[in-house]
């Protein structure tokens, strides 16, 4: 199979994730879109690793997953605690830190 298709898929996934972050209001969905972007990048890394016959890209993909796991833990905790205090998971409601 042509590895280019993986790259197209990855670009598609990244674009969906980016649009999701920009246009969705629900914090959980925004969060999931961020994950989607991360995994799209992972896919790219692995694909290029395969194309070049070099394992470095796959190693980096593992690092990304570990970091993403840690980030999910912290991020979800924040979202849950914001929801508990404000009874809302909308990112537009959490806009106190501004001018």
């Amino acid at each position: 199979m042509n590895p280019d298709n993986y790259l197209f898929l990855s670009a598609l996934l990244f674009t969906i994730g980016a649009f999701g972050v920009l246009i969705r209001r629900n914090a959980i969905v925004v969060f999931m879109c961020v994950e989607l972007m991360l995994n799209a990048v992972n896919l790219t890394l692995v694909t290029f690793s395969r194309m070049h016959g070099d394992l470095t890209g796959q190693v980096i993909a593992f690092f990304t997953m570990v970091v993403a796991a840690a980030e999910v833990v912290v991020g979800l905790a924040i979202i849950v605690s914001v929801f508990r205090t404000r009874r809302s998971a909308s990112v537009d409601d959490a806009n106190l830190l501004k001018y």
Binding site: V21, L96, K98
Partner: protein, 638 residues
């Protein structure tokens, strides 16, 4: 005796310290301690004088070194050495006798005069301080210590002129005296600095001994600066304006300032520094010009004032002008300047105390137009005042005749055109003096009663003052009568001062004058002055409200526009300058800084709006940035 010199200024200084530090506890006996300190100082001065009489020649000059004040061991060109050391020679002994003698009498007089004042103790402490400062001034053996006394006199005069500081006019007068004196003080400090640079020392001995080695320009500069200092302290033109306002102080203070302390300091300074003036004819000429202008200025002002004390103040200015003129004449005049200073000390103190006594009896009325006919009610005051009057107009054989006549003669014998001008000014001054003093005596003691009831409708009840006030007046009157005659006997005074002021040069009178004809001319001028005053004030009624008068009278009432000139030439431009500076500062400097700050603030206020707090907008900018970055990399690669 020599080791006791320090006690002469020391006693009044201790007196002042005890009275000031002791506070209210000393209220009961403070005035007595003040008098005792002054009298003790006088006794010491007299003792020193007799010790001096017992010696001869150079041994008469005594010296006491108290301690090294600022010793800086010499590494540079001029090792700095300032000592607290006193020098008592023939000149300073005259001064300490005058200061402590007249000062003591004024102290005694003040017991009665200030008896109703709750702050009498404070008054005496200031009087003592005044005496101490003046004594330090005349006893110092170097210019730096003299400067200490000089400033002390300025401080004490400030405190005393503003003694009734609750009155705004008194507070303003005190400030004025202090500020005007400050101008003169700057002159003295510059003169001292110049001396240190030129001679490397402040000591009288070193400065006068090496004065011949300095350049003419330096000596003239020092002389002019010393003259400026003398103008400030002695109220000479153009720094005369404070003297009239200084009458706001209690009358004994006026007597003290005008007779024994303060205004005589300038004359002392010039005569003491004669070694410098001897070598600089330019500086001497300036001194005579200042003296001549002031003696006419003061006399004209004295003619127009209705306030008895202000009229006397004008008279002091004029008489000090005579002394400065004599001092400026050089070796022919130094001794006469000091002689006139001493005789003036007697009669002017007497006149002021007499004026104070009249005011005391007339409920503090000072306007002579509201006096009149007082000679029957105050015989002692009248008698002593009249003797002082005869002395000041130069009626023989009273003291003013001997001293003033000699000054007029010395002015004429200066020679040349300047001699004629200066002599003429002195002669004219004598005429005007006779006029205004006669006017004062007639308006106060003769004629009809023009008494005015005070604000509550009480008629004044003039009465003779108590003995504590009468006795000093009597003693001073004796001085006004006899001093001149005693001093002139065998030229005693001139010979006494000769070791200090140098051998007296005999001037030659010009134009066929000799001293007898000149005396007659002077007496004729005095008689004319008296006659004009008698015709003008003695024969007719004196109006209770001052008539408008000629333009000279109007000008003289306003001190010949001295204050107006100071205001227009110095105060207003200064005010405009500061206002312009403040405006420039507010609008220019502050404007630029504030504008810049507003610009930065405004810009950042608008930029701040970018921080919306919405996650999506931050995310968008991040994406935009990342996209731009990628685009840039791709663009660069391709």
């Amino acid at each position: 005796m020599e080791s006791l010199i320090w006690l002469v200024p020391g006693l009044p200084l201790f007196g002042a310290a005890i009275l000031l530090l002791g506070g209210k506890r000393t209220n009961a006996w403070g005035h007595l301690l003040g008098c005792l300190a002054a009298l003790g100082s006088f006794a010491l001065a007299a003792g020193l004088f007799f010790t001096m009489l017992g010696k001869h020649g150079a041994a008469r000059s005594m010296h006491q070194h108290l301690y090294s004040w600022v010793p800086v061991p010499g590494t540079g060109q001029h090792p700095f050495q300032a000592d607290v050391a006193f020098q008592l020679d023939q000149l300073s002994v005259v001064f300490i006798l005058l200061i402590t003698g007249v000062g003591s009498l004024i102290h005694i007089y003040s017991i009665g005069y200030m008896s109703h004042d709750p702050e009498r103790r404070k008054f005496f402490s200031y009087l003592n301080l005044f005496l101490a400062a003046m004594l330090i001034l005349v006893l110092a053996d170097n210019y730096l210590l003299l400067y200490v006394g000089w400033e002390g006199v300025g401080l004490a005069s400030y405190l005393l002129i503003g003694f009734w500081q609750a009155k705004p006019s008194a507070a303003a007068a005190a400030k004025k005296a202090f500020v005007v004196n400050r101008v003169g003080d700057v002159g003295l400090s510059i003169a001292i600095m110049l001396m240190f640079v030129t001679f490397g020392s402040f000591n009288f001995g070193t400065v006068f001994g090496t004065a011949g080695g300095a350049s003419k320009g330096t000596l003239t500069a020092i002389g002019i600066m010393l003259l400026l200092a003398a103008c400030g302290k002695s109220a000479q033109f153009p720094l005369q304006s404070w003297l009239g306002d200084a009458m706001e102080g209690p009358t004994p203070v006026s007597a003290l300032i005008h007779a024994a302390t303060m205004v005589t300091a300038g004359v002392y300074l010039i005569v003491r520094s004669h070694a410098i003036f001897d070598l600089s004819p330019t500086a001497r000429l300036l001194v005579t010009i200042v003296g001549a202008i002031t003696l006419l200025f003061g006399a004209i002002v004295g003619c127009a004032k209705d306030d008895i004390k202000k009229s006397l103040a004008g008279s002091t200015m004029s008489q000090i002008g005579y002394m400065i003129l004599a001092a400026g004449l050089g070796p022919i005049g130094y001794a006469f300047a000091i002689m006139h200073l001493v005789t003036h000390g007697f009669f002017k103190a007497g006149l002021f105390l007499g004026a104070g006594s009249v005011m005391h009896g007339m409920d503090d009325e000072v306007n002579m137009r509201h006096y009149g006919g007082l000679r029957k009610y105050m015989p002692i005051t009248f008698g002593t005042f009249f003797l002082g009057y005869l002395a000041i107009i130069g009626c023989p054989p009273f003291s003013g005749f001997y001293s003033k006549d000699k000054i007029i003669e010395a002015a004429f014998s200066k020679g040349g055109t300047s001699g004629w001008i200066l002599g003429g000014a002195a002669l004219l001054g004598a005429l005007i003096t006779a006029f205004y003093m006669t006017r004062m005596v007639i308006m106060t003691f003769f004629g009809e009663k023009r008494w005015v009831p005070d604000a509550e409708g009480h008629e004044p009840h003039p009465h003779e003052s108590p003995l504590s006030m009468g006795l000093p007046m009597l003693l001073l009157a004796v001085g006004s009568v006899a001093a001149g005659f005693l001093f002139s006997m065998n030229s005693a005074f001139v010979n006494w001062l000769e070791p200090v002021t140098g051998p007296r040069a005999e001037g030659k009178l010009p134009g066929g004058l000799n001293s007898t004809t000149l005396s007659i001319i002077t007496l004729a001028a005095v008689a004319v002055g008296v006659a004009i005053a008698v015709v003008k004030y003695g024969t007719g009624k004196v109006p209770a409200v001052a008539p408008r008068g000629s333009f000279i009278t109007v000008a003289a009432r306003k001190d010949l526009y001295g204050d107006a000139f100071n205001e227009a030439a110095l105060m207003r431009p200064g005010q405009y300058l500061t206002r312009t500076l403040v405006y420039t500062d507010n609008r220019g400097v502050d404007g630029a800084i504030n504008g810049l700050a507003a610009l930065v603030g405004g810009t950042s206020g608008r930029l701040r709006r970018l921080q919306t707090g919405f996650v999506r907008s931050y995310a968008l900018s991040m994406f935009g940035g990342a996209a731009a970055l990628v685009a840039a990399i791709l663009f660069a690669k391709l």
